[in-house]
Amino acid sequence: MEPATSLETRVKSAGLAAGARVVGIAAVEAFRAAVPEGYRPEDILPGARSVIVAGGDGPTAGAWRCPDHRVMEITGYDLRENVAVHVMCDFIERELGHYAIQAPSLSVHGHEPPMSMMHAAELAGLGSRSLAAHIILNPEYGLLYYAALITTLPLEPDPPLAEPACPHPGCAAMYKRIGTTPCLRVCPACLTGSVKDNRIERSTYDRERCHSRAQTYGIGSFQKSLLQIVNEDDPERRHTMIHGDFFTKSLEAVGFFRDSIAQCFECMRVCPVGRKHRKLQ
């Protein structure tokens, strides 16, 4: 007789079959320590017991090799982790009779989503914060994109990582040798940090500067250009601003968002975590 498959395994299997690279579970109580009121899973779904997080692949290995940075700017991603979340939500509601919602992650007030997918991924044991923009690195795959669901279904949570993914041993050795790491060296404009005893000792991240890189063409650039345009009194200069490359690309990014969600990968390009999966023929 086959052993009964646990609920946790059944739910995760549904997510993995739908295209998630990794799936993890966190208990809602775990969010209370670091998340302010109003942004916790239980604030969003009454009676919430579990948060299930799906991580999906980023750019393909081939995309990382392209010398033209514009390719990855508009490679986009297939949002597969969101598909996995929908599949798991449907499974939980239809088969298990518990409430399940996709956790709202779209920014709703400036750069602020109703719930942090990064923190959910940490708590679900899928990764840990890194020196590189505090991106959650999965120890096996490195950069993944995360989506989550909130459910009233009680599940056994996965523990957070015992060993953080960052710093990679190579980076810790590099820091010891020359006082920096690949990510800190490539992007000192956004990042500062230090490593001590193979752990992140200190790390800062200038999110607003990073925004000009990670979303060079998008909502922000559109707003800034538009302000310049409306404040420009000279109609000829206004004309060149409206029809110029920068504003045009900004409009394209707004219109074709799916192709231009993330537009800077330089700290991740040099990161050794997960790089073995990018070495192909």
Partner: protein, 93 residues
């Protein structure tokens, strides 16, 4: 009456503090404050803090920074490609 419009004077007075307290400039494992928490600290209402934060996030850097971003990415991607693909011809000037 239109949508909520922030008084530019209020914005100028509080924008640096709001930016410093929120998640704009992050320190690892030290999350920034929510708009409600910032409002309590500064003696403002939450709606005003949200508005200040939204404007300040966008206003933080001038559009020049976007051009620097374009130059940075072009150069960094080419340098990496030159190194890893063993193509010194790709190295940017």
């Amino acid at each position: 009456m239109g949508v909520f419009q922030l008084d530019p004077e209020v914005y100028r007075r509080y924008k640096d503090e709001v930016l410093a307290l929120c998640n704009s400039f992050q320190k690892i494992h030290q999350p920034g404050l929510s708009d409600k928490q910032i409002a309590e600290r500064l003696g403002l209402d939450e709606r005003t803090v949200t508005e200040i934060r939204c404007v300040a996030e966008r206003d933080c850097y001038p559009l020049d920074e976007w051009q620097r971003a374009i130059d940075f990415k072009r150069k960094a991607a080419l340098e990496w490609a030159a190194l890893t693909l063993k193509r010194p011809d790709l190295k940017p000037e």
